[in-house]
């Protein structure tokens, strides 16, 4: 699991790559909650490099969204591949998140 955090256009982008499961989700959770605790007004989680996600990954994203909602922060998801999208759909959470095809589309929406 690789995690990179960068800032672009006043937006914090967390780039995740690899497989998100029970083994790796605690590290992802720590990174996302670290940024939401700083109350960044604009957060994008870039899942372009994520090949697999289980329910612990979904739970981590839900938690991040809920924290961001508490301070009216924007919390967007970008770059979901078909396999990961299906987990969102099976969880019926695809309508709860703002999901964009890629990071550029997400950045356009958040501007």
């Amino acid at each position: 699991m690789q995690i990179k955090t960068r800032t672009q256009a006043n937006t914090v982008i967390i780039e995740l790559a690899g497989e998100i499961d029970l083994d790796s989700s605690p590290e992802v959770r720590k990174t996302i909650l670290n940024e939401t605790q700083r109350k960044h007004p604009r957060l994008i989680i870039d899942l372009t490099g994520v090949s697999y996600m289980d329910s612990s990954g979904i739970a981590t994203l839900v938690e991040g969204l809920q924290y961001a909602n508490q301070y009216q922060g924007q919390f967007l998801i970008a770059g979901i591949g078909p396999g990961v999208r299906e987990v969102f759909e099976l969880s019926r959470l695809d309508k709860v998140f703002k999901i964009y095809e890629n990071i550029n589309q997400a950045l356009e929406q958040i501007a």
Binding site: D21, L22, D23, S55, A59, V62, V87, L90, S91, L93
Partner: protein
Amino acid sequence: MDEIIEIQIPANPRYLKLIRKFVSNICEMVNFSNKQCNRITLAIDEACTNIIRHAYGGATDQPIILKTIILEDRIRFVLRDFGKKANLDSIQSRQLDEVRPGGLGVHLIKSVMDTFELKHVQTGNELILEKYFSITKEA
């Protein structure tokens, strides 16, 4: 004669990727579609995650045994643990209109698999999951 393939891992999250590869390869071997292979792999991964979390409470040195049986019309996965007995009455899918972290595993498993049977055995639990070759289950 039924064909049985068995794998055992320690209940350590780092080994979940081995389970996923094992399940994915078997699903490909019996000609499930890519989408079905991905879904079944997710379901078995979630079942193992539940064992790690709930049956063993995070004790990583305990065994998880996954037995796969290829039958004529379906594939059966039998997951065996030797941990805390599950409360069979509390095992259910959660309400999906409630947006909160956690509690999705059983819902995902039941969405994907055609049968779900959890029972107590002498020590621990046994979860039997089946997927028929001819049924396409869409959530």
